[in-house]
């Protein structure tokens, strides 16, 4: 085992003042440990480098369906036993899938660390023999209900599904949504799903992170014990290349008339990939623009002109790392305000980022809010494990996580103007408009 130790640094200069130790097993599994004895709990987190960006045409929704199948039993864990063992020993667990990756995590009372590692190893190395047609059929139905509940049955619920194909061209790995097509899920047989697991759920395609009440040496020993015998997989296909020009070169517009209570706009731009200096500027810029009552959007449109509903205005970046990531700006019209007025107002505020320099007060406000948000994110062992898993997976170095907050704090007003001028012009804008049915 090769071993790297990253000494902790003082709080003022890093966003990660806890120790980080990492190693790599012979089968390629990267293991990251961050000890903290404050609470008697541990988090076990696995990032698999497979997301919807890896899905070829005709197999959309596969990565996400796997997130479900992984809870349905494996070689030595009976169906439904995974949940029973984690919750039945006091733990909290979940999993998520996005365009970039799939993650699995459980926070447990520390004495159950070994159980969590055993469960994760069994479903990494032993899912396929346990996967049955009945489980597949059942979880397809659950996913269809997930789609109904989260996207289809909620006003504006399909905005993200509509924005992606407007932002990313046909064939781009981010073009289709992670929830995928129900037709693709229906069309595939058991063997196709088994092959998907064997392809991507490999130790050399994963990062195991453990944070909390445990020493690194102990985790390394247990990782070898439980994961060491799982064979590496060769020839894992890379996702299609996500390179795209920054910014987009033509505006796109879609208008949806639907059962929504008020007109709403989503403006979106492709910016820079997460992890780049450009995206750090976008993160600060999104906060200046649309996070909090002191933001430009709130001050000028919710307060100020009073054309936008105060509870439904804001902007945020979606932290995707493998192609230019989107910035999304949204506002909902107040009663009696027509959507053209709202769009003109939004466009004017967005343009102000390029034309009207961000003041020291605005910049300090944004950085203070981002600082609080950062520390809130790492306040739990679960938040820390996911963060380290992300940086190990996407940038090859968990310790790089500590530099994000200092990089945000180093962004200057000039950086914001430059980012706004490059990425936020009307010529590169996606505009998605929702109109209530009766005003059609």
């Amino acid at each position: 085992m090769g071993r790297v130790t990253s000494p902790s640094a003082p709080v003022a200069t890093t966003g990660y003042p806890w120790p980080i130790e990492s190693t790599r097993l012979a089968n390629g599994l990267r293991v990251v440990v961050s000890e903290d004895r404050t609470s008697p709990v541990v988090c076990v987190n696995l990032w698999y480098d497979v997301g919807s960006r890896h899905e070829p045409a005709g197999q959309t929704g596969f990565a996400h369906l796997f997130e479900h199948l992984m809870f349905e039993g494996s070689q030595h864990v009976r169906k439904t036993e995974h949940m029973r063992l984690v919750q039945g020993n006091g733990g909290s667990l979940n999993a998520t899938t996005n365009p970039d990756r799939t993650n699995y995590f459980e926070t447990m009372p520390a004495e159950h660390l070994e159980l969590a590692l055993w469960l994760e190893a069994d479903r990494m190395g032993g899912l396929v023999p346990a996967l049955t047609q009945e489980t597949l059929d059942n979880q397809r139905e659950v996913v269809k209900n997930e789609r109904r509940q989260r996207y289809d049955n909620v006003p504006y619920g399909d905005a993200w599904l509509r924005l992606l194909p407007l932002l990313y061209p046909q064939g781009h790995p981010y073009h289709h949504a992670t929830i995928g097509s129900m037709e693709d899920l229906n069309a595939a047989g058991l063997d196709t799903f088994k092959a998907f697991h064997q392809q991507y759920y490999a130790p050399n395609n994963a990062v195991l992170t453990v944070t909390g009440d445990v020493a690194a040496d102990e985790v390394f020993r247990l990782a070898e014990k439980y994961f060491g015998a799982i064979a590496a997989v060769t020839g894992i296909p890379a996702a299609p290349d996500g390179s795209l020009p920054i910014p987009a070169t033509a505006p796109v517009r879609e208008t949806v008339t639907a059962a929504v209570p008020a007109p709403r706009l989503y403006l979106s731009h492709r910016t820079y990939p997460f992890g780049t200096p450009g995206y750090d500027a976008i993160t600060v810029l999104a906060t200046v623009l649309g996070n909090g009552r002191g933001s430009r959007l709130y001050q000028r449109l919710a307060d100020g002109k009073r054309i936008a509903q105060p509870d439904y205005i804001g902007s945020y970046g979606v932290d995707l790392a493998h192609a230019p990531a989107p910035l999304i700006i949204t506002a909902t019209a107040k009663d009696g305000v027509d959507v053209a007025t709202l769009e003109a107002g939004l466009a004017e505020v967005v343009q102000s980022l390029a034309d009207e320099p961000v003041t020291d007060d605005e910049l300090n406000r944004a950085k203070a809010l981002l600082t609080t948000a950062w520390w809130r994110g790492v306040a739990t062992v679960g938040g820390r494990a996911d963060l380290l898993g992300r940086y190990a997976t996407q940038f090859g170095d968990p310790a790089a996580a500590g530099s994000r907050l200092p990089r945000w704090l180093a962004v200057t007003a000039d950086d914001l103007v430059a980012a706004a001028r490059e990425t936020l012009s009307p010529e590169s804008r996606v505009t998605l408009t929702y109109l209530p049915e009766e005003s059609a």
Binding site: T38, Q75, T80, R84, S92, R293, G294, A368
Partner: protein, 446 residues
């Protein structure tokens, strides 16, 4: 490849301890603080006896409108200056209203907490409440409620509450009011509510690294200019349960799912059965492996998730099952759900199920209580329900020691499948006929 075939045994359990609680009386109020060494952020919550239950009937939502007015400027500065001052510290105000309290919370890096508490208190105690602002905020809140009510769920929740608490005044209407009651809130309602309930000292909860925080300074900021004492809480509202189930149908034309809210009244939070009731509900509908989630999601695939729980406040409680199910299986989903409730009521829980429930509830006391915000919420529970500082150690012990007999007895006593109100919000034209078997159907227009 060789996976380890045998499930590992647990290691030695770490001792459980709730953070050390410190109480001080200063400047006319009480500060209750929990020390979390090493935490960068600290949280403060001003906990006031200004709950939704204090609102006037017909003006439900007054406290919520007031909560949203707090940042519309204070007697010291206008709303833009206030936002800049508070957010410049990295803090945001989170005012919230529930059935037992009004909370004004802030979180910030610990060295900045005093400044954030000063601003939070400024907003809570001395908001400007300019009449034009109050009217605008009220109208915005009506619009926001209409947005919320366009989603599946809030109308079903309102229908259930109106039915369960039909004879209980304020408790009949939703926590934040409904679009009509909020529209009726006047400037005077808001001013009067503030004058009556927001100027009493209340309690300041503080969590974080207390070595970085001066509690006396926080107390001075939180309690300056306050007066008035505690108002004795009113008694519990009782547990009336009807003798037959009935169906309330809320139409949502074209809905691809039906929203289920099945419920009946239950005891208030002070009930001596709190622990066995919580464990019974965990077995029935709390854990992922609960009977309901297993049957309705994992076996039948009718839903993305289903939950059953007791909600208990100082004066009232209710049992509720909540789920969204595919429209085409609405009838079967209701039937299976009723079966699981009845079965649990009649035959209780098994040792294997209870073992999961106890360990989960006990473990969650450490797993879900890592942050200053979570610990502040736990302190608020102590204050609102008059519980001792060692309550969480005691609660953990009671969870772990609860027996099958105790939990089964609680299920038998506190589940009433024969008295359920079955609210179904969905495409009435499609689902009406299949609901007839569950009881008399009443259409509810909201």
């Amino acid at each position: 490849m060789t996976l380890i075939t045998v499930r590992p045994e647990p290691g030695a359990a770490r001792p459980y301890a709730f953070p050390a609680v410190r109480r001080i009386s200063a400047h006319g109020g009480t500060v209750i603080a929990a020390h979390l060494p090493g935490q960068v952020l600290a949280t403060a919550v001003l906990l006031l006896d200004a709950s939704a239950a204090r609102e006037t009937e017909g003006r439900e939502g007054t406290a919520t409108v007031l909560a949203k007015c707090l940042e519309e400027g204070t007697t010291a500065r206008d709303s833009a200056a206030y936002a800049l001052a508070l957010e410049g510290l990295g803090a945001e105000l989170s005012p919230s209203v529930d059935w037992d309290s009004f909370r004004v919370g802030v979180a910030a890096p610990a060295p900045l907490l005093a400044g954030a508490v000063r601003l939070a208190a400024e907003a809570a105690r001395t908001p400007k409440l300019d009449p034009a602002d109050v009217i605008r905020v009220r109208d915005d809140e009506v619009a926001a409620l209409k947005m919320d009510w366009a989603q599946p769920g809030p109308r079903a929740d309102a229908a259930l509450r109106a039915d369960l608490f039909a004879a209980d005044g304020r408790y009949r209407r939703p926590l934040h009011g409904d679009p009509a009651s909020v529209a009726a809130v006047s400037v005077d309602d808001v001013l009067e509510f503030h004058r009556s309930w927001m100027l009493r000292p209340g309690v300041l909860l503080v969590t974080g690294d207390l070595d970085e925080v001066d509690l006396d300074v926080l107390a001075e900021a939180a309690f300056a200019g306050t007066s008035g004492g505690l108002v004795a809480p009113e008694g519990p509202l009782g547990v009336p349960v009807p003798t037959r189930p009935h169906v309330l149908l809320v139409d949502r034309p074209g809905s691809v799912q039906s929203t289920l809210r099945l419920g009946h009244r239950a005891p208030e939070r002070a009930t001596p059965d709190y622990v066995p009731m919580t464990l019974a509900a965990t077995v029935l509908g709390g854990a992922f492996t609960s009977r309901l989630n297993h049957q309705i999601r994992e076996v039948k695939g009718y839903t993305y998730g289903i939950r059953g729980s007791y909600g208990m406040t100082r004066r009232a409680g209710r049992f509720e099952v909540a789920a969204s199910v595919q429209t085409a299986v609405t009838g079967p989903a209701v039937r299976d759900t009723l079966h699981e409730i009845a079965e649990t009521q009649a035959t209780g829980v098994t040792e294997a199920e209870l073992d999961v429930a106890r360990s989960w509830r006990a473990g969650q006391l450490s797993v879900e209580m890592q942050t200053p915000g979570a610990i502040a919420g736990a302190l608020a529970t102590l204050v609102v329900h008059g519980l001792p500082d060692d309550y969480y150690e005691r609660l953990r012990r009671e969870y772990l020691e609860a027996t099958v007999e105790q939990v089964s007895a609680a299920a038998a006593k506190h589940l009433a499948p024969g008295g359920l109100t079955l609210v179904v919000e969905g495409d009435a034209a499609v689902i009406r006929d299949e609901l007839a078997e569950f009881g008399e159907i009443t259409d509810v227009d909201l």
